[in-house]
Amino acid sequence: MKSSALELKQVSKTFTKDGQTVNAVQSVDLTVEQGELVTFLGPSGCGKTTTLRMVAGFELPTAGEITIQGKDMTNMPVNKRGIGFVFQNYALFPHMSVYGNVAYGLKARGERTRDIGEKVRSALKLVGLANTENRYPNQLSGGEQQRVALARVIVMEPNLLLMDEPLSNLDAKLRLHMRTEIRALQKKLGITCLYVTHDQSEALTMADRIVVMNKGRVEQVGTPFEIYSNPQSVFVADFIGQANIVELQIVLAEQETLTAQIPGGGTFKARALRPDHHVQGSELYRTGQSAALVIRPENILVQDPSSEDGTFPAHVRSSIYVGSHVEYELVLANGTAIKAMVPFSRGMHIYEQQEQVSLLFDATATAFLPL
């Protein structure tokens, strides 16, 4: 059986500093297949960097096991893991030329000088930096330094490429450009890659799969599409893209569907997420308790007030016409604020402040999540 490129089993890391302990990473399980690009996404301090550094070997896990291509690496020193790490600030050696930087690992590996020269040149060509060999890092722009850092790592043909917010020091435009370039390079070379970022769009556009982390734990692992359209927790729904979270009381819990009370109105029926937990008999949803309804702004229609079942009575707090869309800020009867984004077409009525309206949620794009 072919083993996975990387496997984390129940990996945890606890830091102790000045008598205080921080559970930076808690029981993380993850399997990454050969050639995949997996991004780590999550708020600041959620443990992304720590996880990556444990894979690299800069930190040792307090518990758990890490295997790379089937080999146990948990306690292997960094320099024997065959990984490549791209640092947020590039960490180019300031006392070496571009050539020296890229050749560094090959020299340490004891390769022949002639091979080194060839490999370095082709790596630099690959990142579009031919003819910079003799320059020093302080003579390069931020984007060029980034490319050197990349070349320095890929020249080693690592099993695993680890990147910690590699683009965060670049300006917005360059960031967009490098994003596609890195992705293209990664595909071309077929390198397995872990990529930490807290830029959602970066994660969504680059990744084969996304790992969403929160407070040291993995909230959800999935393709960008799954993460966006099928968030498995309120945290993920809230963190990825824009989402309205409405707390509703459950009036009927059925197999995979819930019916809930609309504040100041009728009832609303939608699917319940977390198919791994069946509704009946599970602790997740129970009649009389609350659940979170997740609805994205683009899946809401704003209409004249009506008493039709399943619509949400609300009033308008503000409306902004932005060309192709109208952006509404609305308030439900129970005070919950809702954002809606309605495509604009000619002759359409734009509701004004304080006007009473009725909201229609697209039931297929709406789901309940446990609170």
Partner: protein, 570 residues
């Protein structure tokens, strides 16, 4: 089915995971045990144990001798006086350099003059003061002063102030330089006069520098041995000289140990106070900051005049003192027969050749070994976490914090019997210098490492280089300027310092500084001057060579502009 991985302990022994670090730590602790703890504990043992039982008898005995009590008070009074006068003088110089528009060459001259005492052997100012104000003193004759004796409190005080005020100058000008010039503007724009600005902004903000300077000078004066030995005579005893005379004159090790314990207590108090002060604020950024910046406001006119006058007098006086030594080294008998002669230099190169060779060898060995140790200790205490790290930091500074006399006495007591019999050897001299003066090296290595992003070392590891290769190919090249800074300091001290090693010289191994002392006690002033000049020239030359070497080494990797260490990793 696989059993889910149980939380698996990842604790590994250091020997396996990082054998290089492990060996380094073992080596460091071993060296501390032998060269720091053993001598100090021996000193305490000798002081407090009589026939194997704890007792205050030795302390009581030295305490009951009136002369020793006088020496303790003498030491404290002298240290207080020197710390005040030296700090005042240092402040005046610092104001002149940082807050006045004196012409640039003049400021450079001020700076240069403050460097001289720092790199001269400790006797220099005592010798020249003797030549100027001593018996047959030139200045006394010129001014027609009679019945003046340089020997005693006055002489020591003047001499130590001259020797140590540059330290105050460095500490205070560093802090005056880093102050925001806009504060001056703010004070003036709020209607304060220039005097008021000085009183309410400049001086209060420089208080930490003043405090640190007072402590540093207090400690330095307390520990100074050379000056009182030459200028103190019997009228003004101080502890270091009393301890020295007890040991070398009466072979009373116990008495010497007890006396040095009396000296150790105030020295440790000063050391802890200073750590406290520096711990709260890290203002000692001894970076020679200059160049474009907003200008500080001018000082009041009268003050500028006063400062200029004082500085001019001091500069002229210091230059005069050095000139007098140079002159003194070329005359037959000082003040008696002023015919020009090379006789003393002939003597120095004939009979002093061994001392010169020994001194150079010892300084060279100490500098090399001390620098290696400083790099290792600086690196592991800054970059690694391990149990006992704090204690390692503290221990490494111990011999440096203690007065040289105490260390010297501890060394003769600790190493004068088996199992480690080292008295009279080269090893004991080198060890005394290394474990005393590598402290600056450690500090500059640590400061430099703090500026270097650990990601650089991690990058090297992740590229497959091992710990050792990473250290030699990445860390060392990046900290080499700091290492050299420490080396220069170490070398200068090994060439000039005497307070600890005076106890350790022997027929087999001798030092230039002890030859100077001998010449002085034999009243061979011209000979002493010639020795001093030779020593100063050697120090200058060696320092220039090291400076060059650093330039050559770093030329290869700071291209094209000097790579500033702030941008490391970027």
């Amino acid at each position: 089915m696989r059993i889910p991985a149980l939380p698996k302990s990842t604790k590994r022994s250091l020997i396996k995971s990082d054998p290089v670090l492990y060996s380094a730590m073992v080596a460091v602790w071993l060296s501390f045990a032998v060269f720091i703890f053993l001598p100090l504990l021996s000193l305490l043992w000798t002081t407090f144990f009589v026939n194997g039982t704890f007792s205050f008898a030795n302390i009581k005995k030295v305490w009951s001798a009136k002369y020793n009590v006088r020496a303790l008070y003498g030491s404290l009074i002298l240290a207080t006086a020197v710390s005040v006068s030296g700090t005042l003088l240092g402040y005046i110089f610092a104001l002149a350099v940082t807050r006045t528009t004196l012409p640039k060459p003049l400021k450079v001259l001020l700076g240069a003059v403050t460097i001289l005492p720092l790199i001269s052997p400790p006797f220099t100012s005592s010798i020249s003061l003797t030549l100027a104000l001593g018996p047959n003193g030139m200045l006394l004759k010129a001014l027609g002063i009679k019945n003046f004796s340089i020997y005693g409190f006055i002489g020591i005080w003047i001499s130590e102030t001259l020797t140590y005020f540059p330290v105050a100058f460095m500490v205070i000008s560093a802090i005056l330089n880093t102050m925001a010039a806009t504060l001056d503007d703010a004070a003036l724009s709020l209607g304060a006069s220039r005097w008021r600005m000085l009183r309410t902004v400049t001086i209060p903000l420089s208080l930490p520098g003043i405090g640190n300077s007072i402590l540093l000078l207090f400690g330095a004066s307390l520990a100074d041995f050379a000056t009182p030995l030459i200028l103190g005579g019997h009228t003004f005893p101080v502890l270091p000289t009393e301890a020295y005379l007890l040991i070398t004159g009466m072979f009373d090790l116990k008495g010497g140990a007890a006396l040095s314990f009396l000296l150790l207590v105030p020295a440790l108090v000063v050391f802890f106070l200073q750590r406290q002060l520096l711990g709260t604020k890290s203002f000692v950024s001894v970076t020679g900051k200059n160049g474009a910046r907003t200008e500080f406001a001018q000082l009041p006119k009268t003050l500028v005049v006063a400062i200029s006058a004082i500085c001019t007098i001091m500069v002229v006086f210091i230059i005069y003192l050095y000139a007098i030594i140079l002159w003194g080294s070329f005359v037959k008998v000082w003040s008696v027969n002023n015919t020009f002669t090379f006789e003393h230099y002939r003597y120095v190169f004939k009979h002093g050749r061994k001392a010169i060779g020994d001194t150079l060898l010892i300084a060279f060995l100490s500098t090399v070994i001390g620098s290696v140790l400083a790099v290792v200790i600086g690196y592991i205490t800054q970059r690694k976490t391990f149990i006992g790290k704090r204690f390692m930091e503290f221990s490494s500074m111990l011999n440096y914090a203690l007065p040289g006399t105490v260390v010297g006495i501890a060394y003769i007591i600790g190493f004068n019997r088996k199992p480690i019999l080292l008295t009279g050897t080269l090893t004991i001299l080198v060890a005394a210098y290394v474990f005393r003066y590598y402290a600056t090296g450690i500090r500059s290595v640590v400061a430099s490492l703090e500026q270097i992003d650990p990601a650089l070392e991690e990058a090297s590891l992740s590229l497959g280089a091992g710990t050792l290769r990473t250290f030699t190919h990445v860390t060392i090249p990046l900290i080499i300027p700091a290492v050299f800074a420490g080396m220069r300091y170490l070398f200068i001290h090994c060439m000039t310092a005497i307070s600890a090693t005076i106890f350790l010289v022997s027929v087999r191994w001798t030092l230039l500084t002890t030859r100077i002392l001998e010449s002085m006690t034999e009243l061979q002033f011209s000979q002493a001057s010639a020795f001093s000049i030779v020593l100063i020239v050697i120090v200058f030359a060696a320092d220039a060579i090291m400076h060059r070497a650093l330039g050559m080494i770093t030329a290869n990797f700071h291209r094209p502009q000097e790579a500033s260490y702030e941008i490391i990793g970027a």
